[in-house]
């Protein structure tokens, strides 16, 4: 497992997601309106949709391509039928930076 610093939380717009690359791996990191952070695999398992471009609400993300919907806490699909998303631990450090473990 490796740990990455994504910089200030401001780099992810409130209520949206953003894609980061950690080495070879692409990760979508989300910051909900309630201020929680989540990280998942960047592409939708259904048709490779860019999940960070999806709509986020409460702790869910809706893929922009065909609207499959996932629970960000567990990665489980809540609408549609496809695989579970891989999720990664993410936290904010005492200095206000986003720390991702992959």
């Amino acid at each position: 497992m490796s740990t990455w610093n994504l910089g200030s939380v401001e780099r992810i717009a409130l209520g949206e997601g953003r894609t980061f690359r950690a080495g070879e791996l692409e990760v979508a990191v989300f910051r909900t309106r309630a201020g929680e952070l989540f990280a998942t695999q960047a592409q939708c398992p259904h048709g490779q949709g860019p999940l960070a471009d999806g709509i986020v609400g409460a702790a869910r993300v809706v893929c922009p391509l065909h609207a499959y919907t996932f629970d960000l806490r567990t990665g489980c699909v809540t609408q549609g039928a496809c695989d579970t998303l891989r999720t990664y631990p993410v936290e904010v450090s005492s200095t206000g930076e986003v720390i991702l473990h992959v």
Binding site: G15, F20, G47, Q48, V56, A58, L65
Partner: protein
């Protein structure tokens, strides 16, 4: 400090209101006091006919016994009649001399039986049929009597007659009109019902006006009619209609028409602390004599009084009711007869079995139905009627369950293999759908959500619904949310708009916070954003995360996650210079395809997201809005500019339209076109809005056309004689559509739902007097337009997509 709420009337409406109020925590806000002049708790009045017939014991029909009032700390003055309401002193006076002060008072007085003017009504053996006591007196009088007459062949009269028959009497129904139940039934249905009742043993006398109740020694012996005839009988039940109880309100100085007049807030226009619900009230010129509307009213008023939704409003009820004259199945809804020449009537009659079915269809939707003797068809019809659903092409499917399933469609669906694809957009098979139903998806909405079937172009939704019925049968449930504007906020559009305005909610997050208990719903965000922008214009507080990705980056996401970029080319007219710019951008940013679209624009496909701001800059043309639920394009033909046939300047008009309405947000996309003559080369009659030049210098404006998976020729809105007028009426229609359509409702569904006559009345004839306001509002949106491609790019979207980051700590896993 708790306030005091006094409810006058302890019937169906009054008691229901209190129940609804308790459900919403009303006990914390109010001390509740009720008056009821009947000496009981409250009971289900509908079941009185069953009590009369002996099918129910009186004690079985109580909804809330006296104990319930005690347990809920409600003071009930049972058997006390209110004789005065003093609005200045804010007190209510009972006939026992008691006085109750109030902060708010609700009139729920119901109606009284109407007894027409005739002689002899004061004798022993004359009854009305309204209360438990009436029922009791009738039953007590029966022993030793043989023949009863019921005056009035309406629903209640027939119920009474049937009850008396059940008690072994000879029963005559005397009716003034030429067929039974004329308020609900047409003549044929009335005739068939009469036949059924005759077979049961009732005697029926039509077109008979009773002028005297004959008697001897103060007791009934018969009836005398206006035509001179007489009828012997031992008792009479008068059931000639009801009159709302309004005396008390009149004396309190409230406005009373047929009932106590109330507004959408269910309050009297004369006094914000006085409310009226149920049969005694009159809303929008209507009084109701059935329970369904009063349930709606009780709910709305409870929302207001409990302050759960202080802005809740009542907008009238569509009455679809199943009525049961013991042993006769009857459901009626909406209108009784066709009223316009375009109305279709689909009927089936089988007098011998007492079956009659009639459905009135207007513009493809049910506006009324009568179903006699076939209870099975009723639930489906009531549902279609309530939802305003489109009726099947084969109208017979409305009346019959063909092939034992839900019509033809169901039969063929049933035989399909499980792998058969039902939803092509999302690749959902019959098996997927059946599994989801078995897994508990019992409403169409839940089913579509959990499988995604029907959420693409929507054409398969009918099949999905039919499969649901096949698999779930009676367990299908209706979602209240089909009426909501967006699924996550439980309000239909007019109420939602009202709340948003009243509370000054200018951002999507504020709407969730105030109207959805703080619960965000992803599916609702874009719809709310669109609505708020329409309502607030410049005051709208934009939250990027409420926008779909297309609207965040002003381009259309494609299946490989690249974007398609379409610059605006007004009216489809471009120049060599613009074409060079477009060609250069295509080269520079590696467009995978350059395509002429169906709307006469040029599409650059396969652009990478991070290149978008550069493409805009290089193009230096405005955004073509090929994304967004907004006005898109106005397709044109060459009209008088070049065409041999052109009689109108369709190109100039198209450009003017596009310049004016570019980027205007709306419930769904709007595609427009103009044609220089009725040859219609730009297909203007199958667009959301189109204008076609006709000889004589006029333009016909069409609205609600479609050429997608459904084809529909638009309806003519009006004919005008100048470009300016075209722009004015198009703008007015757009604004009307923007304000009234549901989210994602295309103009063709909207125009069908509202009806072109209604649209024309508002938009052209301006019967509501809102024309100038609509013009001003669309003008404000035009003025507020800013080219999104000129916006400062949203940094966190557009900075390079992937950021290689220094691993701060690279550890071995497991450490």
């Amino acid at each position: 400090m708790k306030k005091k709420l006094v409810v006058i009337g302890n019937g169906m409406a009054g008691a229901r209101l209190v129940e609804e109020l308790l459900l919403r925590g009303g006990k914390e806000r109010f001390d509740i006091v009720m008056f009821g002049d009947e000496p009981y708790g409250n009971y289900n009045r509908i079941l009185l006919s069953n009590v009369l017939a002996g099918a129910h014991d009186p004690k079985d029909i109580f909804i809330n016994p006296l104990r319930w009032y005690e347990e809920n700390n409600i003071t009930l003055h049972a058997g006390v009649r209110v004789v005065a309401v003093d609005r200045h002193a804010k007190i209510v006076r009972g006939d026992n001399g008691g006085v109750e002060p109030y902060d708010d008072v609700v009139f729920a007085l119901g109606s009284s039986a109407f007894v027409p003017r005739m002689e002899g009504t004061a004798q022993e053996g004359v009854f009305v049929f309204r209360t438990l006591d009436d029922c009791d007196s009738i039953l007590k009088y029966i022993p030793g009597r043989k023949t009863a007459a019921v005056i009035g062949g309406g629903l209640l009269g027939l119920e009474a007659a049937r009850g008396l028959l059940q008690r072994g009497m000879n029963v005559h129904v005397v009716h003034l009109m030429n067929h039974l139940m004329e308020l609900q039934l047409d003549r044929t249905a009335g005739g068939i019902l009469q036949r059924t009742l005759l077979q049961m043993g009732l005697r029926i006398h039509l077109e008979k006006a009773t002028c005297e109740i004959l008697g001897q020694d103060g007791a009934v012996t018969g009836l005398r009619f206006q035509d001179g005839g007489t009828l012997d009988c031992d008792m009479v039940v008068v059931s000639a209609g009801i009159r709302p109880n309004t005396q008390l309100a009149r004396e309190a100085g409230l406005t009373v028409a047929r009932g106590i007049v109330v507004g959408d807030d269910l309050a009297s226009p004369d006094d914000p602390h006085v409310f009226a619900i149920g049969e005694c009230s009159e809303h929008a010129g209507k009084t109701y004599g059935l329970v369904a509307p009063l349930w709606d009213q009780a709910r709305v008023l409870a929302e207001r009084l409990s302050a759960r939704k202080p802005g809740a409003t009542y907008h009238g009820s569509r009455v679809a009711t199943k009525l049961k004259v013991m042993g006769v199945d009857l459901a009626v809804m909406g209108e009784r007869e066709a009223s316009t020449e375009n109305d279709e009537e689909v009927t089936y009659a089988e007098a011998k079995r007492g079956v009659y079915k009639k459905v009135i269809v207007r513009d493809g939707r049910i506006v009324g139905a009568i179903l006699l003797g076939d209870p099975e068809a009723a639930p489906g019809l009531v549902q279609s009627f309530d939802r305003g659903a489109e009726v099947p092409e084969n109208r017979a499917e409305l009346l019959f369950r063909l092939d034992g399933g839900d019509g033809r469609a169901a039969a063929s669906l049933e035989s399909l293999p499980d792998e058969a694809q039902i939803c092509n957009c999302n690749g959902i098979s019959k098996g997927d759908i059946l599994r989801a139903v078995r897994g508990g998806a019992r409403s169409l909405k839940v089913l579509c959500e959990s499988t995604r079937a029907g959420t693409g172009c929507g054409t398969c939704k009918g099949d999905v619904g039919a499969l649901l019925e096949l698999a779930a049968g009676d367990a299908v449930v209706e979602d209240p949310s089909v009426h909501y504007y967006v699924p996550g906020v439980p309000l239909p559009k007019p109420e939602l708009v009202e709340e948003i305005r009243a509370r000054g909610l200018t951002s999507v997050s504020a709407v969730f916070r105030e109207l959805a208990g703080g619960k965000e719903d992803t599916a609702s965000k874009p719809g709310l954003a669109s609505l708020l922008k329409t309502l607030w214009g410049k005051e709208y507080v934009d939250e990027r995360d409420a926008r779909f990705i297309n609207d965040r980056v002003h381009a259309n996401i494609q299946r490989d996650a690249t974007f398609s970029v379409i610059p605006r080319i007004y009216g489809g007219v471009t120049s060599a210079d613009q074409l060079r710019k477009i060609a250069n951008a295509a080269d520079k940013y590696g467009a995978k395809m350059v395509k002429i679209t169906g709307g006469q624009r040029i599409d650059l496909l396969g652009i990478k997201k991070e290149d978008l701001p550069h493409v805009w800059r290089d193009l230096d043309m405005p955004s073509g809005h090929a994304y967004s639920k907004a006005f898109r394009t106005c397709k044109t033909c060459v009209g008088t500019d070049f065409c041999r046939y052109g009689v109108g300047d369709s190109t100039g008009l198209g450009i003017a339209i596009e310049e004016r309405f570019q980027g205007i947000e709306s419930p769904h996309k709007m595609k427009l076109a103009t044609a220089g003559c009725p040859r219609n080369c730009s297909e203007a009659t199958t667009k959301d809005i189109g204008a076609v030049a006709t000889s004589g210098g006029t333009w016909e404006i069409y609205v609600g056309g479609a050429a997608g998976s459904r084809v529909r020729k638009g309806d003519i809105l009006c004919t005008v004689d100048s470009h300016d007028s075209v722009l004015r009426y198009m703008g007015r229609f757009m604004q009307y559509y923007r304000e009234n359509a549901k989210y994602l409702e295309r103009t063709y569904d909207f125009v069908e739902r509202v009806g072109i006559e209604e649209v024309r009345k508002v938009v052209v004839d301006d019967v509501e007097g809102i024309g100038a306001r609509l013009d001003a509002d669309i003008e404000a949106s035009v003025q507020a337009y800013a080219d999104p491609w000129k916006e400062v790019p949203h940094v966190t979207q557009f900075s390079e997509k992937l950021e290689p980051l220094e691993p701060v700590l690279a550890r071995a896993s497991g450490e």
